[in-house]
Structures are given as structure tokens and as C-alpha cells.
Amino acid sequence: MVGVLALAVLWELYKLVGPADGWLVGAQEGVTGSGIRLLPRTSDQAMPHTWDMVARVIEPVTRAQGALPLGVVVLLAALTSLGVAALGWLVGVVVGFALALLMLGFRIAERAVLPFVILSQTVPLIALAPLIRNWGSRLEFGAFSWESWMSVVIIASYLAFFPVAVGALRGLQSPDAAHLDLMRSYAAGWWTTLFRLRLPASVPFLIPALRLAAANAVVGTVVAEISVGFTGGIGRLILETAVAASSDPAKPWAPILGAVLLGLVAAGFVALLAAFLSPFRRQETVA
């Protein structure tokens, strides 16, 4: 809360001090667009007052009769995106964990799969989105038909699975030799060792991975919504309101804040999960 307030103060302070037209280096007289802008413009057009943004949130979206307040529209869109992102996160976590288990179980799989897991993250999202949309639209069996939100889920999970796969693998491999020897001396099998030793031991590695996955899922959802053309989510709303930037400069900021809120909720959810798993975060001290 203090952070948000500080940000708002900083915003207004710069708006007060900074030159209205920004600060250009090497601009030629009378030639628009020349020179390099080193400081952003502070005009109301580019940087609306924070109170204007807040005020805009309560006003209706459009001047049409019966239009909902902008804030409500943003919240609804954020909720839709949250659902999609959560699903993407879940799919990503399941896939990531499955991959980690596979790599744990078979040394050869680690060598075969891990490079591809890393490679997968170098493919730009923008290139991927139309591809997945295209593949998806060809899928059709019976009553099932591919919806555009499913493409968004896939893309979100594509970004989310990576930290989970890597983090879970490290966590599952974290028990030291003495613990593994101990389990062996108990004649415990692979699965018993997994559930009694490796899984609990992986929690400290897993929590940051899940947090990263949540952030990735949110970013993935927002970006994928735009490139897939899924309407109703916050990503699309950002694009739609951006058009209004020149006439209604405070408007695009509302969905951006909505996206930030989305990220905060996602992070809060993982923090809740972490609190729930806190007994497993104890560390052994060697006295």
C-alpha cells in the first residue's frame, strides 16, 4: 500500500518538475519527430494525473446509455483473465512436475529432455500464438470444439511449466546422500522414497518456482489474449482502451492497473500456498 502511494507521489512529482514536452537532444527546429527524447513528456496527454485515473475508473466506459463503470468492466475482464491464467498455471504445474519426475526417474531422460525444455523458452511467444490457434482450430471431435480461450490456456501453461520443471527437478534431487542411504537401508522403494523424502525436500525449491510460474502465466495470458484475439480478458481490454488514449488519456491506465492487480492476486495465491506448506520449509541445522 505504501509502495503504491510512493509510486503515485513519484509520478506526480515528476509530472510537476519534468518539462511538459519532455527533453530532446539534437532536435532540429521545426522538424517534428527529430532528436532523441531523453525524458518522457509530462503533459496530461502522456501522463494523466493519478487522481484523474482513479476518477476515470468510477465513470462509465462509454457515453452510451446504461454503460457500466470502467472499473467494473476492468474487474470483470481481470476475473476472466484470472480464470484463464489459473488454468494455464495448473496445466503448467502438472506438465512441469511430470517432466521433472520423468527426468528424475530416468537419467537419460534428463539429458534428452532438459535441453528441449530450455530451448522451448527461446521460442518467441508472438510466433507461437498463431500456430497454437491454428492447430487448435483444426481439432474437432464430436461435440468438442476448440475455443480461443483454450489457446490462451495453452500459451500461459507453456510459459508456466518451465520454472516448475527446472525447480522441481532441483528440489527432487536435493536430498543428500545420507538421506538416500537411510531410505535404502529401510528397503524403501522408489515411490516410497519419492513421497517420504524427495517430495517434502523439494518444497523449498518448489515455492519460488510456483511463484515464477504464476507470474509467467499472468503475463502469458495477457499477451496471448492479444495475439490470439480472445475477447473478454484484460489483455484485449488494454488494446481496446489504448485506442482511446488521445481523447481519453486516463482510460488505458485502468486495465493496466487491472493487469497489475491480476499479478498481485496470483502472487498472493502462491504466498497462501507457501504458508500452507511452511512446515516443509524447515532446514536442517548441522550443529
Binding site: D176, A178, H179, D181, L182, R184, S185, Y186, A187, A188, G189, T192, R196, L197, P200, V203, P279, F280, R281, R282, Q283, E284, T285, V286, A287
Partner: protein
């Protein structure tokens, strides 16, 4: 995997004095001996095809209820030998039998309890939950587990700490929990790999006396790896002296300073204790000065 709690009979009553401690050469019934190692060899493959002989020609018998220490400098293979007995590693030649069964079968039957230098407690489990881990893994029911855990907590003097977590305990207390855990299934053989190696001297001496008491109460045989001469002499019935490059047994010294239950702190100032220390020290130094045949590179294979 989840074979029911070992069906082996209750610990044999083994009065330490009547067992054949001094007559190690006597041919005893193989099934009554805790550990029998015959011609055991362990060779590790080193870099570029080089071979490191960690152990060679090991002949060792540990009688039921006997306390045997393995002592020697780093790299003499004493820990390797313990791991072979525990079936955490396999010999490249020779045979190890534990209570007449193969080492592997003995491990599957849970014939031994084991404790390492690091207590190795699971940090997310309370003291009680750590002790009951082996019982839980082998399907003992909750009531049995609770009763056994209470018993063991009393035995190691940690009754008030059942709900504590390992990170709330001192090193000595953690090690006591580890010992309690190793005793959970009433094994007739206890394997200990420098369990007090990481403790300070005061705690260490106190723990040694505790171990003697526990051992007297349980009547279990103990194979104890250490590199402390006084520790070996104070605890053991027999001290097995080992030498590195290649790892082998060079001497066995009977110390047996009286019944385990009767040994107390004042024994540390007894003439017999010093005589034992001297004997072991001389055996160790004699072994070191002797030229080692076919000396391999000094690799610490602890």
C-alpha cells in the same frame, strides 16, 4: 518393499561375558553370528581405468551382542566396510552374511539399524515423527508406533522433546534422535559410522556413556566406525585396526573393559583403559610404518 515388521525373534539374551568374545577363532554357527565377512574386496573404478582398491582380503566376524570398533586413518576403507555390511554398496569379491543371510536380504528384512556422522533427520518431521519413520515405512499401526516412540524417547532421554523439530535441537540431541531412530525396529545389529564425529568433546564423552547404557539395555551387536582411539577403547569389546592403501585389517585387539552396563566415566582414568589405548595406538602405528604392498593412490574412500 513394505514387508511387515521383521518377523525375527526378539533380541537374543546375550550376556556379553559368556559369548565367545575372546575366542574369535572358534567355529560358531553361522546363523548366530551378527556379521561374517569372508574374503571381501571392494575395488572402485577410478579415472582413466585406474583402479582403487578400497578393501581387500577382509575377514571379519562380529558375534551376536558384541561391540566391535573399526579404527584406522582416513582412506582405510572402514566406512566402506560398514556400507558393505549395510548393503548400501556391494563387494567386488567375497561374501558378507548378516545373521546367516546375505547382506541384501538382511537389509530387506531390516536386521540392522544404522546411524551416520550426520544425524540425517528429516527437517520437516518432529522428533517423534523422525523416530517413527522406519516403523511407518514398514506399515506399523499408529498405536504401536506411538508406544515404541515413547519408549525410545525415554531411552535416549528426550521425552520432553517429542514435538520439537530438528532445527530446535543441539547437535548432540539430534544424534540421540538418530540413534533412537536406528533402534526403532529393535535390530540385533547396530551399524554406526562415526556417529559422534561432529560433536564436541564433552558431548561426545557423554554420548559414549549413553551408548554403552543403551547397548546394555538392548543387547544388540554394534559395528562402530571411528578414528578416535580412546572412543574405540572405551566402547568396544574388540577393536579392529585397519590400514589404507589397500584398505585391509591389520590387527584385532580385545579390550573388553568389563560389562557394558558397568562402564562409567571413571573408567577413562583406569589403568586398563590406558593400556588398551596404548595397545591400539601401537597397532595403528605399526600398521602405518609397515610397507604397503601394491600401494594405490591415496584416495579417501570414506
Amino acid at each position: 518393499m513394505s514387508s511387515p515388521t521383521p518377523s525375527t525373534p526378539a533380541p537374543e539374551p546375550t550376556p556379553p561375558d559368556t559369548t565367545s568374545g575372546a575366542t574369535a577363532t572358534a567355529v560358531a554357527d553361522a546363523t548366530t553370528e551378527a556379521v561374517v565377512a569372508r574374503g571381501v574386496e571392494r575395488v572402485f573404478a577410478g579415472a582413466k581405468g585406474a583402479e582403487v582398491v578400497a578393501l581387500t582380503g577382509i575377514e571379519l566376524t562380529v558375534h551376536a551382542g558384541e561391540f566391535v570398533s573399526l579404527i584406522g586413518p582416513s582412506g582405510c576403507g572402514k566406512s566402506t566396510l560398514l556400507r558393505l555390511i549395510a548393503d548400501l554398496d556391494e563387494p567386488t569379491a567375497g561374501e558378507i552374511r548378516v545373521f546367516g543371510r546375505t547382506a541384501k536380504q538382511a537389509r530387506i528384512d531390516q536386521s540392522y539399524g544404522i546411524a551416520f556422522q550426520q544425524a540425517g533427520l528429516l527437517p520437516w518431521r518432529s522428533v517423534a515423527a523422525n523416530i517413527e519413520l522406519p516403523l511407518q515405512l514398514h506399515g506399523a499401526d499408529a498405536a504401536t508406533r506411538r508406544a515404541r516412540v515413547a519408549e525410545l524417547l525415554d531411552l535416549v532421554g528426550l521425552a520432553d522433546f517429542a514435538k520439537h523439530y530438528p532445527d530446535q535441537l543441539s547437535g548432540g540431541m539430534q544424534q540421540r534422535v538418530a540413534i533412537a531412530r536406528s533402534l526403532a525396529e529393535q535390530p540385533r545389529l547396530l551399524l554406526m559410522d562415526e556417529p559422534f564425529g561432529a560433536l564436541d568433546e564433552m558431548t561426545r564423552e557423554r554420548m559414549q556413556t549413553e551408548l554403552l547404557r543403551i547397548r546394555a539395555e538392548t543387547g544388540a551387536a554394534v559395528v562402530f566406525v571411528t578414528h578416535s582411539i580412546p572412543e574405540a577403547v572405551y566402547l568396544s569389546d574388540r577393536v579392529v585396526v585397519m590400514s589404507p592403501r589397500p584398505g585391509r585389517i591389520t590387527d584385532e585387539i580385545d579390550v573388553r573393559l568389563g560389562d557394558a552396563a558397568d562402564r562409567g566415566e571413571d573408567l577413562r582414568e583406569d589403568a586398563a583403559f590406558f593400556a588398551g589405548v596404548t595397545a591400539v595406538r601401537e597397532a595403528l602405528h605399526g600398521a602405518e610404518s609397515a610397507p604397503a604392498a601394491g600401494a594405490a593412490r591415496g584416495v579417501d574412500v570414506r
